[in-house]
Symmetry: none
Amino acid sequence: MSAKPGEYTLRARRQRRIERRRQEIMAAAVRLFAVKGYINTTTKEIAEAADVAEGTLYNYFAGKREILLAVISETQAAIEMVLSSSGALQQRSDIVGVVATLFDLVVSRLAFVRTLLTEAWLDNLILQDFVIERTKQLDQQIQSFIVERIAAGAYRAVEPALVSRMLMGMFAAAVIPVLRGIAPPPNAEERQLLAEELVNLILDGIRVRSDF
Amino acid sequence: MSAKPGEYTLRARRQRRIERRRQEIMAAAVRLFAVKGYINTTTKEIAEAADVAEGTLYNYFAGKREILLAVISETQAAIEMVLSSSGALQQRSDIVGVVATLFDLVVSRLAFVRTLLTEAWLDNLILQDFVIERTKQLDQQIQSFIVERIAAGAYRAVEPALVSRMLMGMFAAAVIPVLRGIAPPPNAEERQLLAEELVNLILDGIRVRSDF
Amino acid sequence: MSAKPGEYTLRARRQRRIERRRQEIMAAAVRLFAVKGYINTTTKEIAEAADVAEGTLYNYFAGKREILLAVISETQAAIEMVLSSSGALQQRSDIVGVVATLFDLVVSRLAFVRTLLTEAWLDNLILQDFVIERTKQLDQQIQSFIVERIAAGAYRAVEPALVSRMLMGMFAAAVIPVLRGIAPPPNAEERQLLAEELVNLILDGIRVRSDF
Amino acid sequence: MSAKPGEYTLRARRQRRIERRRQEIMAAAVRLFAVKGYINTTTKEIAEAADVAEGTLYNYFAGKREILLAVISETQAAIEMVLSSSGALQQRSDIVGVVATLFDLVVSRLAFVRTLLTEAWLDNLILQDFVIERTKQLDQQIQSFIVERIAAGAYRAVEPALVSRMLMGMFAAAVIPVLRGIAPPPNAEERQLLAEELVNLILDGIRVRSDF
DNA sequence: CATGAATGAGTCTTCATTCAT
DNA sequence: GATGAATGAAGACTCATTCAT
């Protein structure tokens, strides 16, 4: 289409600059959203945090809400990739592995996860599309795992859906104080231990003498 | 200041009227907060729902935020009373009882709990004063219970703080879909069963054969 | 509903004050609209011209466009009343009378008519609802008048719709320079003469010798 | 400044290219102005329609408004040429001819005429420079024509300025529904008939029996 | 005390214009 | 000259709070 040498490079460079700017804006936004919530964050603040003019935001996003959706969408895609590589759960250590990986994900994206949870709490669309929908697969895997073990006589006849949810609740309980900034993020080792302990609890409970 | 007979009564009556009006406003507010969130609720709406003029709100509360704080504070006091009557946890059924009572409380005050959690998520002050602070006592009781049982050799040597938190996470996982409006509120019987199962899980886990 | 003496009066007074304020805002708006057009008039300017805060506008109107529609609607109602009293056209002087009355109306509401025409030019809805629709009756009357006269052999067999429209064009041509501020408003006598002359022209044209 | 052969040609070619680009931009602009109005047309839209970058507009025009003025100015020049070739009006058919030519002009440049009238209505400068000024010559010719005929006893002693203006009003009344998009453009034959009828009306009116 | 109209700072968004590449 | 991203001054509208009645 063009014979000018170097034009391709030029266009590509510009494209990269644009993408970088988009990312900068999203990064600035997610930081603010995490701290103050989407609704309490003004476009002025986002612009300042991204070090651009307010109008510039609108060259990259159709509006404030689209910044939020882009933030959630893009990061979700990244997370999805990590999770989908987990494959079927086969044994105890697989579950521990998934839990540990989830800890890693959450800790490495605190701002994002906090934003996601806040908005999912307030917005049915986001809850459905970005939390329930994305959690479904994992939920299914866990339930399948439990169902198989029950059939094999390894687990007692619990409600798989309930257990899966309780597991998520325990995970959330471990993670929320960190998200909320009232507990320091656990380091890699602590995350591993936490995952172990969490699975221990759900598998064996805490009781050793049945007369209590 | 005055010796007219009956004034004391009059003053008391006025006092009661004022208190009643405060309550009406708070009741109107919490309904709206639960549905739309604090931030999306306007003072105009609160006034209309309470059937007073907008300006009247400011005769009873210093501002919109104070309505929120009053709502939380008052309802918390009521909840507190219920909880504090629980006494020390002695045996398994005591824990089940507390969990069931908590279910009752949450279900009977969905709007309030939803509002509280939303705002606690966004606001450090509310989180600290109305969630962490109020949960502390219960947390302590649970931990003491566990510590005793460990000492008695009934429970294995788990981290009491962790277990207590996991228990809360499981409780939250059971309750949040209801709060969020994506699951119907459980009836009394279901709540009892849920409490049982929840305690079962934490005490015994799900495993019956240790080779898995 | 209330037994407090004077309340009725108080409420009525307040009601009058509100209506007065509405009128003030509309008056301020129509003045600005006439000079700069609706689109070039800011809510800030309207507020300043009406000597209220910008937000106050929104206590009286749902938005900027509603101010425009209210202005047009209210004044139209007034004009309607004048026009509808005209009755059927019977003779030449009736037409002169209607034309003269229309001149009076336009001259006494210059700002309004200018606004109406501007917006009708730009907006199909306003054109249809407030110009075409309202002109229809008059148009029909004129056409009926012409049809009768043609039947009676008094007028030649012209197209009544065309003549009616031409008459409106002539009226517009007489009035637009005044609306546009490039000619002074005619006084009562001039308006009467203009009406006479306009009807003369359409009835007799300008020719006296048919060989030209 | 340079003696290189062929430079003159080169410069001329560049000049032509620039002029062509200017015309492309103006053509794109007038199309948009006609449909959406000057104020509702963005420079971005003009640039897209002209298939250039937004910034490029500013290499050819000082600003958005200058595009409008250029559009009006250039097209006016073309119209002028047509009109000025009409020469002095001598007889009835000359007037019919001018009116028919004007119909042709308007119909063939609907977009432009609509834009011109809109902006002239809102802007004194454009009204004066591009409508009143350009209409003056035609107005004079018509008035001279009338004055002569009055002197010759062919026309009655009407006010020439008034008649000229009425003629314009009738013309406008015939043309505006088309401009406004609520009537289809008349074809060549219809335009001729309309011109005839219009002149008939102004010359002879509609009356054949003077007792009405 | 009750009222509700008035206020104006603050929000999101648009768009003509500029300027580095 | 061409490009189009960056700019920032407006603009319409919202809403918690105040205050005269």
